[in-house]
Symmetry: C2
Subunit: 151 residues, 2 copies
DNA sequence: CCTATTCCCTATAGTGGTTGTAGGTTCAAG
DNA sequence: CTTGAACCTACAACCACTATAGGGAATAGG
């Protein structure tokens, strides 16, 4: 009864509206990112506009690749009324650097992978350039002495 | 005694030689990627050249971003003597596609993030463009019918 | 009021690829 | 024989979820 005056919704609707799964909403709550909402007498969560806004913020930030801890920090900072947004800026720039590094790594990797594939003629595994490229033969010393007793 | 005739090494040396951690070597064994090596009488693992080669293969493949399951598949395929390397090629191409998709996503993300940051003037959180961009205000439906009772 | 359906609850385990820990045993050098 | 490093197993933690089991709550229709 108490909550009908506000247009409160259940967790399923909230989740659908924000492109989240129900479990994830509860997970955010357990992580302290979303405040615990009021409950019905039966114990079910009821959410209002503020919760929706906050969850939407979290989802947007996740789409930007921010870690949950960073998002928590952003939310905290956004509530300090007179604070400068310097720290916010710093977190965002760190995230950008992270993304830049990952892109660079992936691009290098893509190059290597693509070259590997180009050289493969599709014949047999014994002559496969892909397996060859992955194999350890590149930087072995001399392999003359092999005691075959092994295994 | 049995293993001294071969130039077998302990797990620590193997790990160091291949740029792996000791735990990770054991983890690969538990995942079935590395065969269980012979042991000393005291129960310690002793590795030979074949193990080193195989582990080096795994590490190279991991550097290429292949998942452990895919690596297992590659290893399996590489042992089928007369097989064509078509499946190997397929796995590598799938990996390339995966990498391409990730690069694309990250680049798009980078754009958004970078634009966000550029617009931030470093003043106060109340006017911060970053927080604004992450906020939910962008795609609210019509806000005319909003029970404004909300806390 | 009863029932059926849908939603929701908690608690727990699993994902991928490691890393870290605790509490003990074995090895190699001196 | 003693020391210290390396090694052993088994288990928990990381991140951000996802999935499952075994129930209870809300709601629409009869």
């Amino acid at each position: 009864m108490n909550f009908v005056i506000d247009n409160l919704v259940g967790i399923g609707i909230l989740a659908r509206e924000t492109g989240t799964s129900v479990q994830t909403v509860r997970y955010y709550e357990s992580r302290g990112l979303l405040p615990a909402p009021p409950r019905t007498e039966g114990g079910q969560r009821r959410y209002g506009r503020l919760h929706r806004d906050r969850l939407a913020f979290i989802r947007h930030a996740r789409e930007m690749g921010f870690a949950l801890d960073a998002i928590g920090e952003l939310l905290r900072l956004s509530k300090e009324e007179d604070a400068s947004c310097g720290p916010v800026d710093r977190i965002a720039r760190e995230q950008l650097q992270l993304v830049d590094r990952r892109i660079e790594q992936l691009c290098a990797l893509r190059e290597t992978l693509s070259r590997m594939i180009d050289r493969c003629d599709g014949e047999s595994v014994t002559s496969c350039r892909i397996l060859e490229a992955l194999g350890p033969s590149q930087n072995l010393p001399a392999s003359g002495k092999d005691g075959g007793t092994g295994a």
